[in-house]
């Protein structure tokens, strides 16, 4: 497998990242090396092995359906880069 600049650009688009020409070059080479290294997992036969997503066997963790206090609007908006009234402001989405 060879990571091309176009591949890197496609992944960056998916990840909502904008990379400099330098970084694209750098990442193509480094991702190639790292993905080349992880190829070793293919040596293992994993037919019939159940994937592990979580180390501790656990059922769904439910809590009682009870209304409890939350942090409130003022605190929730305190770090907003831009806000108005009780809203976060973002650039216009629909023209």
């Amino acid at each position: 497998m060879k990571m091309t600049i176009a591949d890197v650009e496609q992944v960056a688009r998916l990840a909502r990242l904008e990379l400099t020409a330098e970084d694209k070059e750098l990442f193509a080479g480094q991702m190639d090396a790292i993905l080349g290294y992880v190829e070793k997992l293919k040596e293992l036969n994993t037919d019939g092995i159940v994937p592990t997503s979580h180390a501790v066997p656990m059922e769904n963790a439910f809590r009682a359906d009870v209304v409890r206090p939350s942090i409130g609007l003022e605190k929730a908006l305190a770090n907003a880069p831009e806000k108005t009234g009780t809203f976060f402001v973002v650039p216009k989405v629909i023209e």
Binding site: V8, V11, A12, L14, A15, R16, L17, E18, L19, D23, L26, F27, Q30, M31, A33, I34, L35, Y37, V38, K40, L41, K42, L44, T46, I49, V50, P51, T52, S53, H54, A55, V56, M58, A61, R63, I71, K75, A76, A78, N79, A80, P81, E82, F88, V90, P91, K92, V93
Partner: protein, 484 residues
């Protein structure tokens, strides 16, 4: 003895016996921070005024006879723990202006006991790194040799303990981020079993692996800190509802008859000779104390780093999707929403974080999901099974923490794969979800600390603490101090 070099149990005794006040201790620590910080760089934020206020109120509490073990003890936190009203950056530019509206559950437990917060500690950006070189707030230097890295990602947490800048600290460990820096800085660091400590209010890196744990000056302190933060939290759906043992009471049992496994995959040819020597000496010490050694095998060890760097990066790419400039953190100016997301993220994240988001996005992308992500999760099952089957014959395992002592600043920064491979002995424990502790076990010819790793069964923290305590009582490595 210098106040700033005391352990929790020593300082607690002095506070209780009125030989010292928390205000005196906190003042001594703040002075020490001021004097050595230019050499070390452990802190991102020092909260001096709040610390002095907290110390005064701790002294009143002690005077009323209401003090507990941690009342008035000056501590510091990795900057990954949310602290209400105190800036929390996670080592990233993207959170350079973030003031959390609430606190991490683990910090709340310490604060409720009256612990004093000295400040927020430097770390690799979003806990991604093994050297503390990926912080947006400058590097941290190893107190034993300032031309070397302290380890990472809880590098500030380890360096602060070693340099006399905090009595104890909290860190997080996703692939070795407590144990490896503890080993490199000559302190004790414990990664508890997955689910043992609440992660509520801890900034997420790789959610199926992240765990909170203490870094301390000795094993007794480690037990005290673990007992303070452990326990079920309904606000963390992955925390496990199992009783918290009295870890301090478990220390004294000794290791007579304890069966210690030596996994042959961890004692490889490439091991640094000084590390090898320290392990051999440690084995002799344990044997002299009455422990029995058993040769064991964890056959899939060689696949752990590859497995980790697929699972951790996949989870990171998902967790870090929230940094979009909308609700908090850095926002770039842009005309449309998509550009705002992309520019905010690209300006806010550093290179290592971008690299891991890229790898994780790739591993989760259509066409590669099964070949990379699901494959890694299946190999994770094999690695877990290795531990389950090896633990049928032994009580704990003994291994090195890192293949070499602390490396030079800049040595691995341009070769991410080599950097990733430095975590080869710590990563499998996170994948298996079990607990492990790093403790001082010797020094290299150059005078650099070498750590020993004791791996326990899931929720077997008592056993590794007991074994670690017995080792510590029989050796003097933990009493040595870095000269600064």
């Amino acid at each position: 003895m210098n106040i700033f070099d005391m352990t929790i149990h020593e300082l607690h005794g002095a506070l209780k016996g009125k030989q010292l006040s928390s205000l005196e201790a906190t003042t001594a620590l703040l002075k020490r921070i001021e004097s050595v910080e230019p050499q070390i760089g452990s802190f991102i934020t020092v909260t001096a005024e709040q610390a002095l206020a907290a110390a005064r109120s701790a002294d009143q509490r002690i005077a009323r006879g209401e003090g507990t073990t941690l009342t008035g003890i000056p501590l510091a936190l990795k900057d990954i723990f949310l602290t209400e009203g105190v800036r929390t950056t996670c080592g990233s530019r993207i959170l350079s202006n973030f003031i959390p509206p609430y606190s991490a559950a683990s910090w709340e437990k310490l604060r409720d006991q009256g612990a004093v917060l000295l400040g927020k500690l430097n770390q690799d950006e979003f806990a991604m790194g093994s050297s503390n070189e990926s912080s947006a707030y400058g590097i941290t230097r190893n107190p034993w040799d300032t031309s070397r890295i302290p380890g990472g990602s809880s590098g500030g947490s380890a360096a602060a303990v070693a340099a006399g800048q905090a009595i104890a600290t909290l860190g997080t460990d996703t692939g070795g981020s407590i144990r490896q820096p503890a080993s490199h800085c000559g302190c004790v660091g414990l990664k508890p079993t997955y689910g043992r400590v609440s992660r509520y209010g801890v900034i997420a890196y790789a959610s199926s692996l992240d765990q909170v744990g203490p870094l301390t000056r000795d094993v007794a302190d480690c037990a005290l800190m673990l007992e303070a933060v452990a326990g079920y939290d309904p606000k963390d759906s992955t925390s496990v509802d199992t009783p918290v043992p009295d870890y301090s009471a478990a220390l004294a049992g000794g290791v007579k008859g304890l069966r210690i496994g030596l996994p042959k995959e961890y004692f490889i040819d490439g091991l640094d000779p000084d590390v090898q020597k320290a392990m051999t000496a440690a084995i002799d010490t344990f044997r002299r104390l009455g422990a029995e050694f058993v040769d064991i095998s964890l056959p899939h060890t060689d696949y752990a780093v590859a497995t980790y760097y697929l699972i951790a990066t996949a989870e990171a790419s998902s967790n870090l999707a929230r940094y979009d400039g909308v609700r908090f953190g850095h926002r770039a100016q842009a005309d449309n929403l998509l550009d705002m997301y992309t520019k905010s993220r690209s300006e806010g994240f550093g290179t290592e974080v971008k690299r891991r988001i890229m790898l994780g996005t790739y591993a989760l992308s259509s066409g590669y999901y099964d070949a990379y992500y699901v494959k890694a999760q299946k190999v994770r099952t094999l690695i877990m099974n290795d531990f389950i089957s090896a633990f049928t014959g032994v009580d704990v395992m003994l291994t090195p923490v890192a293949p070499t002592p602390a490396f030079k600043i800049g040595e691995k920064i341009n070769d991410p794969l080599q950097m990733y491979l430095s975590d080869i002995f710590t990563i499998p424990v996170n994948l298996a979800g079990t607990c492990a502790m790093s403790l001082p076990a010797g020094f290299s010819a150059e005078g650099l600390p070498i750590g020993l790793q004791l791996i326990g069964k899931p929720f077997g923290e008592e056993t590794i603490l007991r074994a670690g305590y017995a080792f510590e009582q029989a050796t003097e490595w933990h009493t040595r101090k870095a000269t600064l």
